[in-house]
């Protein structure tokens, strides 16, 4: 029961309506233009890894949203344990040898992070969600992002040799910079033999290189304030009780029970987060 309820809570928190969306739809007003909106998301992408204070900034910004909406401040952070261990990997925490007995105790205790910035840390877990596939954490998802690169070859200045490198870019498979040659770009961009000849004969060629699917698995997190009034609850109720023939007590007729479930607030199990 606990396992399925945990999974349902994870999914519920991931897919619940967003108050920000409600406000945006209600007022149909946005004081940020398209570029500001894009930067907002782009800058917060992998914020925890990009900056040592990334999660701190995210938490404090989220708290300001709670204030703006008139909601009580958050008291829990639901996130993967891998985010929590990133927080433990900062220099003052890792360098336990210089902190005397406190450092030794911290090392021995395994550097648990029960709370952070006033928020109780609750770790997400993996669930068996698809038949035949390994359990997975619903708070991890695959995200593809795109990049482009441009290089201009001016043959009136100098004629590049076919195997001459014209652009160097990062290769994440090999974790190093890799050069690409003029010949490689020509062959990859040509759509026909005639097109290839045209490109070879032109005075200047600009290559626009696209990397459309740079894909990573990304962690998500939820900040919230637990409780029936502040956030929500797991509602539960019986749907069926069956009684069978019993050798000791004889036959008991089955009770007639409603087939539909009535969710009752008195049976609500508030989110304990």
């Amino acid at each position: 029961m606990q396992y399925s309820n945990d999974l349902a809570c994870h999914i519920c928190l991931l897919t619940a309506p967003s108050h920000e969306r409600k406000e945006a739809e209600k007022y149909a007003f946005n004081d940020r233009d398209a570029y500001q909106q894009i930067r907002q998301y782009v800058d917060s992408f992998a914020l925890v890894n990009k900056s040592t204070i990334g999660l701190d900034v995210a938490i404090e910004e989220a708290k300001s949203y709670f204030k703006k909406w008139g909601a009580p401040p958050p008291n829990f952070l639901l996130c993967s344990s891998r985010i929590a261990f990133q927080l433990n990997m900062t220099e003052p925490r890792v360098n336990v040898m210089t902190q005397g007995p406190v450092g030794q105790e911290r090392l021995a205790s395994g550097m648990e992070l029960p709370s952070y910035r006033g928020l109780k840390i609750i770790n997400t877990r993996s669930f068996s969600m698809e038949t035949g596939s390994a359990p997975r954490d619903p708070f991890v998802r695959r995200v593809r992002v795109g990049e482009y690169y441009t290089v201009h070859v001016d043959k009136t200045v100098a004629l590049p040799e076919e195997n001459q490198s014209v652009i160097t870019m990062y290769d994440q498979n090999r974790d190093c910079d890799v050069p690409l040659t003029y010949s490689q770009l020509l062959k990859a961009s040509a759509i026909s033999d005639q097109h290839l000849q045209t490109l070879r004969g032109a005075d200047g060629v600009t290559f626009v290189i696209l990397r459309p699917c740079w894909e990573h698995e990304m962690h998500s997190a939820v900040l919230g304030n637990g409780g029936l009034q502040n956030l929500g609850a797991s509602f539960y109720g019986q749907s069926e009780v069956s009684c069978y023939d019993d050798a000791q007590y004889g036959t008991t007729p089955p009770h007639s029970l409603p087939s539909t479930l009535t969710l009752n607030a008195s049976r609500a199990l508030p989110f304990l987060f």
């Binding site: 992408f45 992998a46 969600m129 593809r144 961009s189 939820v222 539960y236």
Partner: protein
């Protein structure tokens, strides 16, 4: 005796939670190599089949794959070097006006709240035309205008995939990849015969790419900025 129950978590107050999507790397699943996918494959042309690659891009229910080619290259006859200067950040290769139903929204945020497409993002498609729409052969078959249309038609329709993507929560629940039609300028260096040397630091989702960041993007460690954000440090 058997007892059956129903159980359903319900959010009763949507002001009580804020979701922070994509705040930390968990692992790299492909698309970051330097293997070029040629448009023309087959006789006397090296490389994997373009249609196969296209199906990999359009398949969102599986990881892109480490060995799948990550790059495609478009070439334009451009003696005045006007294309590079007309590229803005981000750029949208296929404008949403080409989609059926027109005016499709392209959201940047994971919850699909704010439509963030601006017509200027596809400006490179048209801006260059007046400057150097040069007929390079009698039929003008390989003019920049025609080639842009040809390349855009050959490519997978990222704009369509982006426009109809689910919200992040539903995508995570169903294990779908979240795709993006916006292209940001990445990190690279150019040099060579006839090539203007330049060094660009990437400013997109992943930031600057450099040797050593593979471990960070696998979810192991933090990326130390080469230039400290002094103002930000003082605020905290």
């Amino acid at each position: 005796m058997s007892f059956k129950y129903h159980c359903k978590p319900v959010i009763t107050n949507d002001k009580g939670a804020i979701r922070l999507f994509d705040i930390a790397f968990c692992g790299y699943t492909g698309g970051g190599n330097t293997k070029l996918q040629p448009f023309k494959t087959g006789e006397n042309w090296d490389g994997d089949d373009f249609e196969h690659w296209k199906s990999k891009v359009e398949s969102l229910d599986e990881a892109f794959g480490m060995q799948t080619a990550s790059l495609i290259c478009m070439a334009f006859v451009d003696p005045n070097n006007s294309i590079s200067s007309s590229m803005i950040d981000p750029v949208c290769i296929q404008p949403p006006s080409n989609l059926q139903g027109n005016n499709a929204n392209l959201y940047a945020d994971p919850e699909n709240i704010y439509s963030t497409y601006h017509s200027e993002m596809s400006h490179w498609e048209t801006k260059v035309d007046s400057a150097d729409d040069i007929p390079v052969d009698d039929n003008n078959q390989f003019s920049n205008k025609n080639m842009r249309a040809t390349y855009a038609g050959l490519c997978p329709n990222w704009t369509l995939l982006h426009a109809f993507r689910q919200t992040a929560g539903h995508a995570a629940n169903q294990c779908d990849s979240h795709c993006n039609a916006f292209f940001f300028e990445g990190s690279y260096r150019t040099s060579g015969g006839g090539v203007m040397s330049k060094t660009i630091r990437g400013n997109g989702h992943l930031g600057h790419s450099m040797q050593g960041c593979a471990a960070v993007r696998s979810g192991k460690g933090l990326q130390m900025p080469s230039v400290a954000p002094i103002q930000l440090t003082h605020l905290i």
